[in-house]
Amino acid sequence: MTAPVILEADEVVKHFGAGSGWLSHKSPVQAVDGVSLQIRRGETFAIVGESGCGKSTLARLLMRLLEPTAGRVSFDGVDVSHASGGALKALRGQMQFIFQDPFSSLNPRMSVGKLVGEPLEVHAPELSAEERREKVAELLRKVGLRPEHAGRYPHEFSGGQRQRIGIARALAAGPKLIIGDEPVSALDVSVQAQVINLLGDLSRDLGLTLVIIAHDLGVIRHMSDRVAVMYLGRIVEMGTAEEVFATPLHPYTQALLSAIPSMDVPSKHQALAVLGEMPSPSDPPSGCRFHTRCPYTRAQCKQESPKLEGQLHQVSCHFWQDIAAARKPTTLRPKTDAVEARFALYKAATTGGTVIHQNQEPPERN
């Protein structure tokens, strides 16, 4: 838990479109508004929130794909928020990105070998063509593809395989940290599980730090060590995945968790409903930004903006003590023994177990 900090954001702010024309007075979009966080080496850190909460902008700021309007981002103790030139190139080798859509993030005119080899040309120019080919083959094997695939083109692959190519490409530069912006949300359930397992294996085997942006809380709970919940450009709650999911303190986190439809939770007609929709980030509400949708709003919330408080489990809400005390713990729907037994059978069979059929011929039916 006390691994050194690898990536740190300090009061990072990003406003878009601040300059307005002489006829229009457009207020800037406050995409990220004062976010501080520390990501430790080797952990999987997740950023959750609804669309428009600024999570993708935050990821791009952390990667230095965007420059912050204010505040600083440091990687390995060095301020990189305005890095450029050689320093930026070196940083790109350390930090890589996996994109959401495996269909549009790969150049359709480049073969897989070219795609995966391209970062090597930039970050390891000393390699000969032969060495690079070997390295590409090794990378493809690492992500569960075959070296022969290097000669094929992206359209010949399914979504899950393309995402594997994207991961191989990210690994090629030999990064310490990988940021995935919704890396599995475009994939079907059965393929999604394969990619989640792969990311877990890679982060363990290569000691990678992962930052995962997602809106699927089931995926987050499964993959991450720590979670930050964002709402309208600010972090409203941050802590270990275990604590945030077991005892969410902020009313927004509680609502978000109760809104996920899940097989494990009984149908929730009585769910804590969040009212309406997220206000525009170009005109955020005063005080606590969640107060327009919060079922517990009081006068203070409209005026004073709460700070992120706490040590390991941080929350930004004036009344979190009262709200957390009133919360009913969610009970998971227990799986029947029959289901667990069949899941176990299935898992054993798909992870290398030998399937023995009791009677060779299926019983005559119909």
Binding site: V189, H222, P261, A271, E277, Y346, K347, I356, P363, R365
Partner: protein
């Protein structure tokens, strides 16, 4: 419990069924394999039937075929009987008449932005649907539109009637789509991934709305989704599709507590579980074959860990419990196979 063909059809046409689809088989012209193969579904009054499956399993094509939305030039329906409103239609030769579509059976789509016309006010778009199907005057139709907007939970419906689609958020647009679909009090609502493009908090609101409207009006709903969480939330009955075939169907409690088909079990165990974080997920190996590469017999057998030579013979749907059918030779698995490490 073997069930003969005739007994099955009687069962499907049971008295409370609102809409019954029987034995739909279709292919796209130029293809050598069926995209949808012998699919039978039933929606009862006040019931939500969820059709679940991954992309390419034929779930959307099935709903489009019911609505008669597939282009006749490119599709070839070789069989399919639709029973609705005490009438039968042979989908191979004809489709639902326009008086029925949009009035008795309505559809909403995944992407509400592309389903609304951006250059007309939403009030006019809803009113058009009312005028066209009911022959009301324009004023009456607009009044109806206002009532509908109110009913789907849009604040200030009178002003909102004059809004254009781009002025509304995604969740609001989906509410407008629902208002439009329900303006004529249809008996059946077909919803194709209605919440996939929406955020979870908005998704919860829309699912609540669909559930409330079902309780109020007793309409039957056919919902297409890939999300087992959504299924657990709203479904009364479930049909799991793979490769254009229904592999398992039954009441929602049966599907979740007694999943029988290896594909259903695989899908369910591939979902991250809230009670077992970090545990390695089970997977369904490989990917869905393209339609032309679908194997003969059980279409899942190329990805199934339990498949044998016997699976080259297509398993028929058979009852394993009350109203719970599965198409697998080896169900229930534990009585047919053992796995040693």
């Amino acid at each position: 419990m073997p069930v003969s063909g005739t007994a099955k059809s009687q069962d499907l046409a049971s008295a409370d069924a609102l809409l019954t689809l029987k034995d739909l088989t279709l292919r796209f012209k130029g293809q050598t394999n069926d995209v949808v193969h012998s699919v039978s579904l039933r929606v009862r009054q006040g019931e939500v039937l969820c059709v679940v499956g991954e992309s390419g399993c034929g779930k959307s094509v099935t709903s489009m075929a019911i609505m008669g939305l597939l282009p006749g030039k490119a599709t070839q329906i070789s069989s399919g009987k639709l029973s609705f409103l005490a009438q039968d239609w042979d989908l191979a030769t004809d489709c639902l008449p326009t008086e029925v579509r949009g009035r008795e059976i309505a559809m909403i789509f995944q992407e509400p932005m592309t389903s609304l016309n951006p250059s007309f006010r939403i009030g006019d778009q809803i009113a058009e649907a009312v005028q066209r199907r009911r022959g009301n005057s324009r004023t009456e139709a607009l009044e109806r539109a206002e009532v509908m907007l109110q009913r789907v939970g849009i604040a200030n419906p009178k002003q909102r009637l004059r809004a254009y689609p781009h002025q509304l958020s995604g969740g609001m647009r989906q509410r407008v789509m629902i208002a439009m679909a329900l303006a004529n009090d249809p008996q059946i609502l077909i919803a194709d991934e209605p919440t996939t493009a929406l955020d979870v908090t908005i998704q919860a609101q829309i699912l609540d709305l669909i559930r409330d409207l079902r309780d109020e009006t007793g309409m039957g709903t056919l919902m297409i989704t890939h999300d087992l969480g959504v299924v657990a939330e709203v479904a009364d009955t479930v049909a799991v599709m793979y490769g254009g075939q229904v592999v398992e169907q039954g009441p929602v409690a049966e599907i979740f507590n007694n999943p029988q088909h290896p594909y259903t079990i695989g899908l369910m165990s591939a979902m991250p579980r809230l009670d077992r974080p970090g545990e390695r997920l089970a997977i369904v190996p490989g990917t869905v074959p393209t339609i032309s590469n679908m194997p003969e017999g059980c279409r899942f057998r190329t990805r199934c860990a339990f498949a044998t030579a016997a699976c080259a013979q297509r398993p028929k749907l058979r009852d394993v419990a009350s109203e719970h059918e599965v198409a697998c030779h080896f169900a229930p698995l534990e009585t047919h196979v053992k796995v040693s490490a």
